[in-house]
């Protein structure tokens, strides 16, 4: 099955700044997901992105499956963006469980 690496592990931003989080996979991956884990521990779905680019407000994500990476962009960051961001991809093809990276801990300070 795939392995997932996320970078950077920690990131501190001033409110209003932009950032890019990266996710590398050990093998070609489809149907990647990005999550935000809030301070109460819940995983909030951000993107389900088979390939290409998706945008939702200040957030956007790009996956290049053939090059085995995905990027999450956060623009004009807000303090409510703080938390841990995870990417995850299916272990194998088909209906298989997600394999997660270790996450990027983002702190946005006012």
């Amino acid at each position: 099955g795939i392995q997932v690496e996320q970078s950077p592990p920690d990131l501190i931003l001033q409110e209003g700044a932009n950032s890019t989080l990266r996710c590398n996979f050990s093998d070609s991956v489809n149907n990647l997901q990005w999550f935000h884990q809030n301070p109460w521990g819940q995983l909030i779905n951000l993107f389900y992105i088979p390939s290409g680019t998706k945008q939702n407000g200040r957030l956007s994500a790009t996956t290049v499956a053939t090059e085995r990476y995905s990027l999450l962009y956060i623009s004009s960051s807000q303090t409510t963006d703080s938390g841990v961001y995870f990417c995850a991809g299916p272990r194998n093809s088909g209906n298989t469980p997600l394999v997660f990276g270790k996450g990027t801990r983002l702190s946005v300070i006012a």
Partner: protein, 113 residues
């Protein structure tokens, strides 16, 4: 549409005691997962159900963990007896049919003392 429901939200038990967690997936989602998330790490799969059958339990410590999904809807995860290293957040997730897009519940934070 209601999300994945889990209970309890928090649980503190002594080592060697038993504990059970409950999960109700999103209506119509055939696939149900239990993940364990230890502090500072990403979630790791414990078990995957498709309807009421087990698809993957290769990472479930079967000497102390058990799970069931009777009638193919809600599920229960049990730990007996608990160890200190079982302290973690237990997350339930579900997905629809053949999709891998998973939706997570709020989790149960277990502390074993």
């Amino acid at each position: 549409e209601a999300g994945v429901a889990q209970s309890p939200r928090y649980k503190i038990i002594e080592k060697r005691q038993s504990v059970a967690f409950w999960c109700n997936p999103i209506s119509g989602h055939a696939t149900l997962y239990w993940y364990q998330q230890i502090l500072g790490q990403g979630p790791k799969l414990l078990i995957q159900f498709q309807n009421n059958g087990v698809v993957d339990d290769s990472q479930l410590p079967k000497d102390r963990f058990s799970a069931e999904r009777l009638k193919g809807v809600d599920s229960t995860l049990k730990i007996q007896p608990a160890k200190l290293e079982d302290s973690a957040v237990y997350l339930c997730a579900s997905s629809y049919g053949g999709s891998t897009e998973a939706f997570f519940g709020q989790g149960t934070r277990l502390t074993v003392v």
